[in-house]
């Protein structure tokens, strides 16, 4: 590689770096600073020290929102498991499979608003799902998918699951295709059944991909917003109020910018910790010990 003048290198980097400075790095530091202030965007900010953070831990809604967001992580293992199964089922170069793989990918490229609007009607009390369940005599009376506080968050998760399935399936398919068939062939010759081949050969080799997908989907789950905004507006009884939904509400409707920033800082810390845990968990017995 040739040493080039600093001017040339930074000339190419200038537009990207200046944008990132203003819209990514600046907000990180100012956002962190703002979390120590009480600010409503109209009157000058007032320094309150750790007041906002203390308030979060005595604010009923904030605690419920954080709890719901963490609970939302339940979608991650289900989503990953189903995506891997789907990838295994469709991992064959048949023309019909190519079409079916495309079908599973449609929700991924569709606006989350369209997806949520469609599902809101599917899950309505007199919606498609209840219609099907009642006429097939699976249930006697319609299920309150989105209006029962003990059920609503699960229903929203189902939509996230439905939208994400195709995305992870494609990544796993690429991962599966990257595995040398010799390994699986060797295990089969040694008399391993399909389940053993998967458990002892395929899955360990797929682990780096599983790690990547788990981290990505955990971060997405913690940050869920649009599904909640369109389908339930955080209700009933705060049962679907997630951290980002509450942050949006504090910011846009209540103009509590300092307090919302503090919630953003808490969220960033949770996401950082989560990524680190995922990384640690998957590194052990991961690819390095097999390669």
């Amino acid at each position: 590689m040739k040493r080039t003048s600093l001017w040339t290198a930074y000339g190419f980097l200038l537009p990207a770096l200046s944008l990132l400075l203003v819209f990514t790095i600046f907000p990180i530091f100012v956002g962190a600073a703002l979390s120590f202030f009480c600010y409503n965007a109209v009157t000058p900010p007032v320094f309150v020290g750790l007041g906002n953070f203390k308030a979060i831990f005595s604010d009923h809604t904030a605690l419920i929102a954080l709890r719901n967001s963490i609970f939302y992580l339940a979608v991650v293992p289900i989503l990953q498991l189903l995506s891997i199964l789907l990838a295994l089922l469709l991992n064959e170069e048949i023309k019909a499979f190519r079409v079916i793989r495309m079908l599973f990918y449609i929700p991924v490229i569709t606006s989350i608003v369209v997806v949520a609007v469609a599902w809101k009607w599917v899950l309505a009390e007199d919606g498609l799902l209840n219609g099907a369940l009642v006429s097939l005599h699976v249930v006697r009376s319609p299920i309150h998918w989105l209006t029962d506080p003990s059920l609503a968050l699960w229903s929203v998760m189902m939509v996230t699951l439905w939208k994400g399935l195709g995305y992870y399936m494609v990544i796993y398919l690429a991962g599966l295709q990257g595995i040398d068939p010799q390994y699986e062939e060797a295990a089969r010759l040694d008399g391993a059944g399909p389940i053993s081949v998967f458990r002892y050969v395929t899955f360990p080799l797929l682990k780096p991909v599983v790690a990547f997908c788990t981290i990505i989907s955990s971060i997405a789950a913690i940050k869920v917003f649009a599904e909640v905004y369109v389908m339930t507006s955080g209700g009933p009884l705060l049962s679907t109020t997630t951290a980002v939904y509450y942050l949006y509400d504090l910011f846009m409707n209540r103009l509590q910018l300092g307090y919302a920033s503090a919630l953003g800082v808490v969220l960033a810390i949770i996401i950082g910790a989560l990524s680190y845990l995922n990384y640690r968990f998957f590194r052990e017995g991961g690819f390095e010990s097999y390669a």
């Binding site: 590689m1 040739k2 990207a16 990132l20 606006s111 006429s135 996401i271």
Partner: protein, 269 residues
């Protein structure tokens, strides 16, 4: 053979259940008045009609939403491509002071949630007069770390000899980049273009914050407004939803291979 056809049938059933909500959305958008929730659901609309589409087009500024979305997508995608193609080049091919620091910063920003930055970005945008403007939607996100890394990978794959030959011929660095390097990374630029297109077309939370004026709404925000306004007439909402998803569907079907390429670029080395 039996096992194989059983597996095939199983996959077909799963796929059918999976697309049912979308299928129903499309059927409903063409359905005349009558029972929305007839069971078993009708596979084809009883009274086929285009009136829902005509109505939604006239009842809300749907055409306006379309144009707004197209403007945001066009500028957002174009600028993302230019900025990523510029920034990825020195990170792949030059050796210069501060490169490591820049790498570290880029990686670090990938981990931080943009939701935590949106409050300050809103304040910045209002200082810059970008609230209620199209530019306010795309300017904060055109410096895309994903795009920069994607392009850097593409530049790394180009043989050094090609570049050296051009340099001996006395090309200026900018000319060399524009005439030699950019055409060589065109496939990757196409991948990034497809991804940016879908991302800007579907972006929701940020435009929701930036726009106060209904006439400037992109489709995603317009649809939530539509579904609130016509809460009792789902046929109209369905028609609007179908209109909003058709362009991304066309792009996807036409340019499918670029999607797979971009998706797996991050996951598998």
């Amino acid at each position: 053979m039996l096992k194989k056809s059983f597996r095939f049938l199983f996959i077909l059933v799963i796929a059918a259940v999976f697309v049912a909500p979308f299928y129903w959305l499309v059927v409903t958008s063409f359905a005349g008045s009558g029972d929305l929730y007839a069971f078993p659901p009708k596979l084809l609309p009883g009274h086929f009609t285009l009136s829902n589409y005509a109505q939604v087009w006239s009842a809300v500024p749907m055409a306006r939403f379309f144009v707004n979305t197209c403007i945001i997508v066009f500028w957002g995608t174009l600028l993302t491509l230019i900025i990523s193609a510029l920034a990825g080049y020195p990170l792949a091919r030059f050796d210069f002071k501060g490169k490591k620091v820049i790498f570290f910063i880029l990686f670090a920003t990938l981990l931080l949630p943009e939701e935590a930055m949106m409050i300050v970005n809103f304040l910045t945008c209002s200082r810059l007069g970008l609230i209620n403007t199209y530019a306010g939607v795309f300017i904060p996100s055109i410096g895309s770390v994903f795009g920069i890394f994607l392009l850097r990978q593409a530049y790394l794959a180009i043989p050094q000899e090609l570049e050296d030959a051009a340099r001996i011929d006395g090309c200026s660095p900018f000319f060399l980049w524009w005439k030699i390097m950019v055409p060589l990374v065109a496939p990757t630029l196409a991948t990034l273009a497809v991804f940016s297109f879908v991302a800007y077309w579907n972006s929701f939370l940020w435009p929701l914050i930036i726009f106060k004026d209904t006439n400037l709404y992109p489709l995603s925000v317009g649809l939530t407004w539509l579904s609130g306004t016509f809460a009792t007439n789902f046929r109209l909402v369905a028609a609007g939803s179908v209109l909003a998803m058709v362009p991304t569907l066309i792009i996807f079907v036409a340019l499918q291979r670029y999607f797979t390429k971009g998706l797996t670029a991050g996951a598998i080395k």
